[in-house]
């Protein structure tokens, strides 16, 4: 993975840039001491790091507009940062950039149960959005694993999903409006607490644009009434194929569980050793969760049981009480920690058509042997969003490169079966150079033209998403 060489002219101008930012921002909102900027050198893709030129931490939309306008005038690239939990390097700085952190903007601005929305400053964490409404029986549906830490601004930038999006959709399906600041400091209000923003769907194209079109400072989000209850079941199978067929049959039968999670044998073993959840020793395991009243839960589980039993599972485990329900989820929820106990790992995020599940899992197994690296699979089966975890040893020379090569092969396989490179983590720098596998030159050209409209000078998060060669003519320097 390469990043463009920093501009020497910008590096030389650092004192003037910092002084200009201090002119428009409060003293404590500009950081330029190397020992402090280092804290912003990477996000959750920690294999890559680079301290930025400076960091700004504004408290208002006006301050963000002023900071962006200043950088725009001086030709300085800006990397927006939510909470820095990106697994794709979306917030990775370059040495000549200013990182714009939105974490200080975290207030709730408006809660309206009658119209079922909440308006927040975009630095607020995902979980704290639900936290603001849950006592009154509401929740915000997208629930990425990092929800305790990740910011709504980052969720919007990456169009984040989560385990429950099979039923509730991802960020773009739950976003009603934004305040966006463009690179030149222009503040744009789009949408509001009504169901469609009107005109061209700018909201749709901003969501998932990885911080390249503007900085979202406020967001109007749809909130939903909490279901009366929820309960999981665990189903164990002797093969991935049969588990995959069971998933397909459940979906086809018109049952919409709130989550269908899939774990394969390497992952089950790791989780069991780590969390002692009491999982059966099997090739594949499904955790299926349904919601509703007691009677509705029973009705759905009866249907699911009938379908599952028709596939001769090794075990169909129902939760008799809260504790048993918790134990069913325990292993799944500790999957990443469990794999991390074994070794360093890289988490992939490709999506495939559900029908290709058995084929893809078999191929990943074969590739694992070819590359000599272990891999565990744990993923959202209902929507085909895979999360292969490739184990490697960061201290072993060449292991990371081998792991990345293996990962790239898996993602190419996802595209080959009509899937995609990333289902919810985003492209960032991690999948940037694979974009040509999924897109033809003109497909990327069409996307880059959208950036031309929002950010004509390509100063906002410029070296991400598009292969460097494809964006070279547009980026400064």
């Amino acid at each position: 993975m390469d990043m463009p060489a920093p501009s020497q002219a910008i590096l030389d101008q650092k004192p003037a840039i910092v002084a200009a930012l201090r002119q428009v921002l409060p003293a404590d909102a500009v950081i330029d001491a190397p020992e402090e900027t280092r804290a912003y050198e990477c996000d959750a893709l920690s294999a890559y790091a680079c301290p930025p030129l400076a960091v700004v931490l504004p408290r208002t939309t006006e301050e963000i507009a002023a900071a962006l306008k200043t950088c725009h005038q001086m030709g300085v690239p800006v990397v927006p940062r939510g909470s820095g939990t990106s697994l794709a390097g979306g917030a990775l700085p370059t040495a000549d950039c200013v990182v714009l952190g939105i974490g200080r903007m975290n207030r709730v601005l408006e809660v309206d149960y009658d119209n079922r929305f909440i308006r927040v400053e975009a630095g607020r964490t995902n979980l704290a959005v639900t936290g603001a409404v849950e006592e009154d029986g509401f929740f915000y549906a997208p629930d990425p694993s990092s929800q305790l830490a990740c910011a709504i601004a980052g969720n919007i930038a990456m169009n984040s999903g989560g385990a429950h999006c099979l039923k509730y959709g991802v960020t773009t399906n739950n976003l009603l409006g934004v305040t966006l600041v463009q690179m030149d400091g222009t503040v744009v209000e789009i949408g509001g607490p009504w169901m469609e923003a009107g005109g061209l769907d700018l909201l749709g194209v901003i969501c998932g644009s990885e911080g390249q079109l503007g900085v979202v400072t406020e967001a109007t989000l749809r909130i939903l009434p909490k279901p009366e209850g929820a309960r999981p079941v665990l189903v164990a199978f002797g093969s991935n194929e049969v588990a995959g067929a069971c998933v397909s049959d459940i979906i086809k039968a018109g049952i919409l569980p709130v989550a269908i999670e899939f774990m394969d044998r390497p992952c089950i073993r790791a989780c069991e050793a780590f969390a002692h959840a009491g999982y059966p020793d099997c090739e594949a395991l499904l955790i299926i969760e349904v919601e509703g009243s007691e009677a509705e839960i029973a009705e759905q589980l009866a249907r699911i049981k009938a379908i599952a039993l028709s596939h001769q599972p090794l075990e169909f485990r129902e939760a008799a009480d809260e504790d048993q329900a918790r134990r069913i989820w325990l292993g799944r929820k500790s999957a990443f920690g469990a794999m991390g106990q074994i070794n360093d790992y890289m988490c992939l995020d490709g999506t495939i058509p559900v029908s290709s599940l058995p084929h893809v899992l078999r191929r990943i197994g074969e590739m694992s042997a070819e590359f000599g690296l272990d891999v565990g699979n744990v993923f959202h089966a209902g929507d085909g969003n895979m999360h292969p975890l490739i184990l490697y040893d960061a201290n072993k020379p060449g292991d990371l490169a081998r792991c990345e090569a293996f990962g790239a092969e898996i993602l190419k396989l996802c595209v080959e079966v009509s899937g995609c490179l990333t289902g919810e983590h985003g492209v960032g720098i991690e999948k940037r150079d694979l974009m040509a596998v999924q897109f033809a030159a003109q497909d990327l050209e069409a996307q880059m033209r959208v950036k031309d409209v929002f950010d004509p000078t390509w100063l906002l998060n410029p070296a991400k998403v598009f292969p460097l060669a494809a964006s070279a003519g547009r980026r400064a320097g």
Partner: protein, 366 residues
């Protein structure tokens, strides 16, 4: 012009100098656009249908009726409940799936299942320079690159000609119940009916339709038989004694969806998308007759001509109003509300980026 392949379409666009009007089934007027017609009906056929993965891929000119019949055969459907506005708009023809997507046409189930754009997984289109572009795909979770899929939904042929669309489909529920309460046509009654709809939408009982029209408030629940019975009873308990089960639920929802009450009647028809709790105030302020859907979020208003300023003033900062059908007296009235300057700059920038020669007629500019 009636291309039968994407390549042919691309060549036609490259070689034309005139402005063209893109047309699917011709069932929805594209504003006031005029010019030679580019028909998509030659780009037809379902390319892939996987009921077990809830996905369908079809060429844009495929008749909607063909898709609906295919889905019905597997007990599935399009979740967003496509409105049939031919009666309202006084048009004939047969809708195409590309036209549905280009209009982001979404019916009563939008309150639960989202709009057409929320079911749209991927597109192929040819832009105004003749460039063939693919975006999205056929899987449900996809954040690879920018989401031009949403941008194309509802762009009404102003950015490109759709050639193929991928959609997420939905299983048909085994049961549905429609609850109905008389609320009358007076202000107080409509306000009370709308408040009940909002209360139902704020409950955990998964309402899939919430409308108020013709003096009646309507609610719908769908799903497994036991669950539907449970939720219908829970809603009646929550809302009080005025609510009963309707015998003709599907017909009532079709009438709301298609705004049948205004078909063939004189006057202009406005489409207002607003903050739901403002709906009561807006309809009682304005003269005319209203069909209210999406729990108050969508208002269809039948008025005499010349009400544009009053309609836009009543909506104010709580949403936006579009003139969906103009009577003679409204021939000069702007169809769409003025955009905020910053939004207008972005929108016109996008139109120029995808249609640099202004090949696509933008009489219905959005």
């Amino acid at each position: 012009m009636r291309p039968t392949t994407e390549v042919e379409l691309s060549e036609m666009i490259r070689s034309t100098a005139a402005t063209v009007v893109v047309r699917g089934g011709g069932t929805r007027a594209l504003g006031r656009a005029e010019g030679p017609v580019l028909e998509t009906g030659g780009l037809a056929g379902v390319r892939l249908y996987e009921p077990g993965a809830l996905t369908l891929v079809a060429r844009a000119g495929t008749p909607l009726a063909e898709i609906e019949a295919l889905l019905a055969g597997e007990r599935q459907r399009l979740a967003f409940e496509v409105p049939d506005l031919r009666g309202l708009l006084g048009r004939d023809g047969a809708s195409t799936i590309g036209g549905v997507v280009a209009a982001n046409a979404s019916g009563p189930r939008r309150v639960q299942a989202g709009a057409c754009r929320d079911s749209l997984l991927g597109v192929r289109f040819v832009d105004g320079a003749g460039m063939v572009v693919k975006n999205g795909g056929r899987v449900m979770k996809n954040v690879t690159g920018y989401d031009l899929v949403k941008l194309m939904a509802g762009s009404r042929g102003t950015l490109g000609v759709l050639t193929e669309v991928s959609l997420r489909v939905q299983a048909r529920p085994e049961a549905e119940v429609t609850l109905v309460a008389d609320c009358g046509e007076k202000a107080g009654g409509i306000e009370a009916g709308l408040a009940a709809l909002r209360s139902a939408l704020g409950s955990p009982f998964e309402v899939s339709g919430a409308a108020c029209a013709g003096g009646r408030a309507l609610l719908r629940v769908e799903g497994m038989a036991g669950s539907v019975a449970y939720r219908a009873a829970a809603l009646r308990k929550r809302l009080g004694g005025a609510w009963g089960e309707a015998a003709d639920g599907p017909a009532l929802w079709a009438a709301v969806r298609d705004v049948s009450a205004f078909a063939g009647r004189a006057g202009s028809v406005w489409r207002l998308v607003v903050t739901p709790s403002e709906a009561g105030r807006i309809v009682t302020t304005l003269s005319g007759e209203a069909v209210i859907d999406w729990g108050g979020g969508l208002i269809w208003l039948l008025t005499e001509a010349g009400q544009g300023a009053a309609v836009r003033a009543a909506v104010g900062r709580h949403g936006h109003a579009t003139l969906a059908r103009a009577s003679e007296g409204d021939a000069g009235t702007a169809l769409h509300p003025p955009e905020l300057p910053a939004v207008a700059r972005l929108s016109s920038g996008l139109r120029a980026a995808f249609d640099p020669r202004v090949i696509f007629a933008q009489g219905g500019k959005i």
